[in-house]
């Protein structure tokens, strides 16, 4: 099981704070591609954290069971 958490405009698009995905050993880029397609996130820019750490290299990361993935867009209001 992999948990995904959404923030800001991403949470608005997905209409939820997060969800659980019943996969393990899933490449991160594959998860992101399927979420982008499912929720049409492609116009939004965001950074990705896994287990509370920002991941720079999203292309080569393999998710394991119990990983928590967070999609963090920049906020602009002030």
């Amino acid at each position: 099981m992999i948990a995904v958490k959404y923030f800001g405009a991403i949470a608005e698009k997905t209409r939820s704070q997060g969800e659980e995905i019943s996969f393990s050993d899933l490449p991160l880029h594959q998860l992101l591609a399927s979420l982008e397609q499912k929720y049409q996130l492609s116009q939004l820019s965001f950074s990705v954290a896994i287990n509370q750490k920002i991941v720079q290299d999203t292309a080569n990361y393999i998710l394991k069971s119990n990983d928590i993935v967070a999609l963090l867009p920049p906020f602009a209001g002030g």
Binding site: I54, A70, P74, F75, A76, G77, G78
Partner: protein, 359 residues
């Protein structure tokens, strides 16, 4: 120092009289006098930060009052920073407040940041956040970031003691993110995030606690969930003066201007002529091998002295006469003329740092 005023914080062992002196010596620039700025300013002023600058060119609108609680209804139409200054000095007359009625841009950012120890990002758009980040990298200063999306807020510290920057967290320059004006916001939300920012400023000055450097705090006002995410420095994102000028002068202004550092990159290029349009008695003297001096009022009569194919980098004392000179040159078919931003003063500063090697 008025110790009675600060008694309740001085009696904290973490602050003490030493800490109070640190606060008094600190210089903090608040960028933006909107919701976040209105939350940060009174607390920094009340705590006794010795010098606070606040920059914003906006005027107070009635739609601001729901969240920018330092302004009065009777002040609608007035300058935000001038009103903010009056409020802060009313709260604490023993500090210095500098109200800057300008918009932060790539031309004023660096000289402004050099005058302060810590910048507070209280802006409402991503372009300015990247500008603040880049100018902080050039001047080697930290900034305390705060930002809101509806009921969520983010807080972090960037470029603190060579730590990670905003670009390490958000390398992509997105500009599709809605701000409070478009997305809506509760006054309390900007208040809470502004408080987190002010708290980080005070901790940084006092040297207490753990700072949010390399950490992004995300706070959700609807469920009170608070999370921290770690991020590290990515080496590819270093920004120096040349990169800064390259990036911003090409975007923001016309191509007839060039930054002083970028111009000096070409100091040894024989195709480039540095044209001084000041009078010969003006200081500082700028000595450049490929330099030429023709005062502005004699320029039109002396155009035959110039090679129409050369790149002409024109400077005067501060950059105003050189703009006129470039206009004259371009009208006379010198297509490669550029005015050096900041003029002789900016050139002199860099030449004296010894960072340019003259062959």
């Amino acid at each position: 120092m008025e110790t009675a005023r600060y008694n309740r914080q001085i009696i904290l062992p973490e602050v003490g009289i030493n800490g109070q002196q640190k606060l008094q010596q600190a210089k903090v620039l608040i960028i933006g006098a909107g919701g976040l700025g209105a939350a940060v300013l009174p607390y920094l002023a009340a705590a006794g930060i010795g010098e606070i600058g606040i920059i914003d060119d906006d005027r107070i609108e009635v739609t601001n009052l729901q969240r920018q609680v330092i302004y009065k209804s009777s002040s609608v139409g007035k300058s935000k920073v001038l009103e903010a200054k009056e409020m802060a000095l009313g709260l604490n007359p023993s500090i210095k407040i500098k109200a800057i009625t300008e918009k932060l841009d790539s031309k004023n950012a660096i000289s402004l940041f050099e005058q302060y120890d810590i910048m507070v990002d209280a802006t409402d758009n991503l372009n300015t956040k990247y500008l603040i980040n880049d100018a902080c990298c050039v001047t080697n200063k930290p900034f305390v970031y705060g930002s809101i999306y509806k009921f969520e807020g983010q807080v972090s510290i960037f470029n603190y003691e060579n730590g990670p920057t905003y670009r390490c967290l958000f390398p992509e320059e997105a500009n599709d993110v809605r701000n409070c004006n478009d997305a809506g916001v509760m006054g309390i939300s900007v208040g809470i995030i502004g408080m987190f920012q002010a708290n980080e400023v005070l901790k940084m000055v006092l040297g207490i606690g753990e700072l949010l450097s390399g950490k992004l705090l995300v706070y959700n006002m609807l469920n009170n969930e608070q999370q921290k995410f770690d991020f590290s420095k990515t080496d590819t994102n270093t920004i120096n003066t040349v990169a800064f000028e390259n990036k911003y002068t090409s975007v923001e202004s016309t191509t007839i201007e060039i930054g002083a550092a970028l111009a000096l990159e070409q100091i040894n290029n024989p195709e480039v002529v540095f044209l001084d349009v000041r009078n010969s008695d003006e200081y500082p003297k700028i000595t450049i091998k490929n330099g030429l001096q023709i005062p502005l009022d004699r320029l039109e009569a002396a155009l035959h002295q110039l090679d129409a194919n050369a790149s002409l980098f024109v400077f005067c004392q501060s950059g105003i006469r050189s703009e006129k000179a470039v206009e004259i040159l371009i009208n006379n078919n010198f297509k490669n003329a550029k005015s050096i931003i900041g003029g002789a003063k900016a050139l002199d500063k860099i030449l004296h740092k010894g960072t340019v090697s003259v062959s």
